[in-house]
Symmetry: C2
Subunit: 202 residues, 2 copies
DNA sequence: ATGGTAATATGAACGATGTTCATTTAGTTT
DNA sequence: AAACTAAATGAACATCGTTCATATTACCAT
């Protein structure tokens, strides 16, 4: 069978991504394979390679969509609060909740490694940077005396910290039980850090 | 060829681990395979499975050794400093340096995932917990008014934070250049957090 | 209608992976 | 020397990512 013309390239692409996301969501990165995705959308492996460069490319596309969802959630959260401190804390909680609800997708974003020496494409790194920006702009009103560079660094430190809690929680290496404890940890990290950062000039 | 009796089980085990570590060190997790390890020590795949349950087991053993090296480095660092604050900051720097010097090994410890549902064995989780304990005991003298639980939580938050910086730095998702900038970030995170944690009662 | 062209999809093939286990081999014991 | 047993093998199986010569069919010009 060939030249069925059942679907356009873009349709196949979309179907493949949806099927792949279903696999990842259910079984994590290890549950994903080219043949499984192909079978799930009623095509063969070869077809997948007409639409994606390779599996890494496919995964990158999935991750892009995940980062977009996360970004949306964070934007919504920012819209809900006016107080700067409240905003930051809620941002952290949103991050944790997202990782908890979409664990496998979140893991795929941050644990998938490209072949040695290869860097993620610029558009991808941009999506990560965008997240840090959200933190930066939320941080600004809290530290009006600080230079832009200091704020940038503080945002990076703070968000890396939240990220680290997330990672260790997911890999069960923090012996805390349940999401709530993780939220507490996050709160501790953020509020103490912010008190230190805001409260003093050095 | 069979029954060579060239080496004892333990010798083969040691040889295999050494060879595997060489592979990981040079090419990361993706460079590791049962056949490659076997070839490197002059045995066949089958033999490897007489000594290890499976590849996950082998990797767990490598990771145990890595965690031991890291723990040693941290102990040394603690012995070098008396001032509590100095101790904590140096501990953070040691962690970053280790990850920078043994990147592939460090990655293998924290990014290797066991099959769905399977937890790391207790002895492994103990090695991770041991690291957190080091932070806890260093933190105690700085926060004499705090309860053990609060200190435990603070140590977890602090160390997760350092860990997060490490992760993002290694995956090149922090747009900072060089190890020194990462050290600066770590310093920022730790010193601000500690000022917040120590300086106030709530 | 018919033939030709080009787009579309296939699936066999390749080299790699983890894992198993019947079989072979070489020490050890009787 | 024969029997026994521990040690090591390597072929076999199912899976993986990736490629590409081939087959099929839609479309278009005649």
């Amino acid at each position: 069978m060939a030249r069925r013309n059942d679907h356009s390239r873009d349709e196949i692409r979309e179907m493949a991504l949806a099927a792949a996301e279903k696999l990842v969501s259910a079984q994590g990165a290890k549950g994903l394979s080219a043949r499984k995705v192909a079978a799930a959308i009623g095509y063969t492996v070869g077809t997948l390679y007409l639409v994606f460069d390779n599996l890494d490319d496919l995964i990158l596309q999935i991750n892009a969509r995940t980062l977009d969802r996360l970004h949306d959630r964070m934007l919504e959260e920012l819209a809900r609060h006016k107080d700067p401190m409240e905003r930051l804390l809620q941002l952290g909680h949103t991050y944790i909740s997202f990782a908890d609800e979409e664990t496998h997708h979140w893991e795929l974003v941050f644990e998938h490694r490209l072949p040695e020496g290869q860097q993620p494409p610029e558009w991808f790194r941009e999506k990560v940077a965008r997240m840090f920006s959200l933190v930066e702009t939320s941080l600004e009103p809290l530290a009006t005396t600080r230079s832009p560079d200091e704020i940038k660094q503080a945002a990076a430190a703070l968000w890396s910290g939240v990220h680290g809690i997330c990672i260790l929680a997911i890999s069960k290496q923090l012996d805390v039980a349940g999401v709530d404890s993780v939220q507490d940890l996050t709160h501790s990290l953020m509020s103490n850090y912010l008190r230190g950062f805001v409260g003093s000039n050095r």
